[in-house]
């Protein structure tokens, strides 16, 4: 069966469940970039990101026969990625795994970064992008994840809550703080 762009992610995944490898090719092509960047921006190590990336897709492949449409496919995929990331953090005892309180975040944000360009100078797009990625990397884990899920997976607050296993209000709060921090950092 030939799959088209108008086929939903759920249709593609069901097709793969029923034995159509071409459906997997299509859905992989749709989401490989966003998932890779989601993992890369959080672990900030290409080798680790590739390892986690492969683990996530292998988990999905092994669970092929059991797949049922209970939520959006992106929620299902990034939930796998989130859990795999948590496992990595626990194993590696990453320094940034400590989830900071919002008050601490505000205090950190107020600390000037010597590497930052003078606030009165306009940044070109390339430098802005670089600046933004640095700011994203400086975010607390939960806030960074919420922002990346919004940007890379196009998730709503509700979907972010489902993927990360928190309430809607918590997801909304994390996203709001993340954006506030990023805007504040970009305005400097």
């Amino acid at each position: 069966m030939s799959w088209r762009a108008e086929n939903t992610d759920e249709e593609l995944m069901l097709g793969y469940r029923d034995g159509d490898a071409g459906a997997f090719d299509a859905i992989y092509a749709r989401h490989k970039g966003g998932l890779y960047r989601y993992l890369l921006r959080q672990c900030r190590n290409a080798a680790v990101a590739e390892e986690l990336f492969q683990d996530v897709w292998m988990s999905l492949i092994r669970a092929r026969s059991r797949y049922t449409v209970q939520a959006k496919f992106t929620t299902y995929l990034y939930r796998l990625a989130h859990n795999r990331l948590i496992d990595h953090y626990r194993k590696s005892a990453h320094a940034t795994t400590v989830s900071l309180e919002d008050e601490d975040i505000e205090a950190i944000a107020e600390v000037p970064d010597e590497r930052d360009p003078p606030p009165d100078q306009a940044l070109d797009s390339k430098r802005q992008a670089g600046r933004l990625l640095e700011l994203i990397a400086a975010l607390p884990e939960d806030q960074r994840e919420a922002f990346l899920l919004q940007q890379e997976a196009g998730m709503s607050v509700e979907e972010i809550a489902q993927a990360t296993g928190v309430t809607r209000e918590t997801a909304k709060s994390r996203l709001r703080y993340a954006m506030a921090k990023l805007r504040q950092g970009m305005s400097k």
Partner: protein
């Protein structure tokens, strides 16, 4: 909505979005996984499909359990029905040597046959034999009559109706009978005689032993023919004592009146 002088929009799902952040972020770079990683993952996905057979469609998988249960139920019911049909068979208790017709007759005692008295009064000769619609054979060749003569209780000639029933039920070999045919199986004569005797005995048991004094008083004003009929009936019932008493009284009341030899 503005925040820090910058317009912030509400995206789908109530998520707060900043167009500038969106633009800057997507301009930051579109990193993609290396090609060798793509090849490895795609190969694994294809191996998974080829190694496992195609799974059932969701519709079939949903109905797998109910269909299985239904199949087990149908099979069980079929087996039970088959066993019952093979093991049930004829539910009627079968008495060896007794045909269904005789079994049916055993259960129902014969009512009193007033017409039989007429036959008893008539000697069994061709000239004086009462007119019968059937049978065709004579008494000498009638197995029923032979059996009746042999049976101690079956000494009296049965009523035409009774005889008709007996002959029609048992005369499998008789030809040209005008009796209405029955659907029952032929009954052997000795068995029939026993059946008749048993029926009469049931009748008598049900009716109770006749009281001679009562009979004598009842027949006090009766003509001699009636007396003889009653005596014949008592004799058929086996009430020998009552027969003797009635006969004695009959001879006293009607001296010289001819008494049939069968009642002597």
């Amino acid at each position: 909505m503005t925040l820090n002088g910058r317009k912030v929009g509400i995206g789908p799902g109530g998520a707060e979005r900043d167009p500038r952040l969106d633009r800057v972020y997507h301009a930051a770079g579109g990193e993609v996984p290396p090609t060798h990683l793509d090849a490895a993952i795609l190969a694994a996905a294809h191996r998974e499909v080829s190694s496992r057979p195609r799974s059932l469609p969701a519709t079939l998988r949903r109905w797998r359990v109910p269909v299985s249960i239904a199949a087990v139920v149908v099979l069980s019911v079929s087996l039970v029905t088959l066993i019952r049909e093979e093991g049930g068979g004829d539910l009627m208790p079968v008495t060896p040597g007794v045909a269904p017709a005789s079994r049916a007759r055993e259960a129902t005692p014969k009512p009193a046959q007033t017409d039989a008295e007429k036959l008893v009064a008539q000697p069994p000769t061709a000239a004086s034999a009462p007119p019968r619609p059937a049978p065709q054979r004579d008494d000498a060749g009638d197995p029923v009559e032979k059996a009746r003569r042999r049976a101690p209780a079956a000494t009296a000639r049965p009523a035409p109706r009774l005889e008709q029933d007996v002959v029609s039920a048992g005369a499998a070999s008789s030809a040209g009978e005008s009796f209405p045919p029955t659907a029952t199986a032929p009954v052997e004569p000795p068995q029939r005689a026993r059946v008749e005797a048993r029926a009469r005995k049931n009748e008598q048991s049900a009716a109770g032993r006749p009281d001679t004094a009562t009979l004598l008083k009842a027949y006090e004003s009766q003509p001699p023919e009636k007396w003889l009929e009653k005596i014949a009936e008592l004799k058929r019932g086996g009430w020998t004592t009552e027969v003797a008493e009635m006969l004695t009284e009959f001879k006293r009341r009607f001296p010289g009146y001819p008494v049939p030899p069968g009642l002597q």
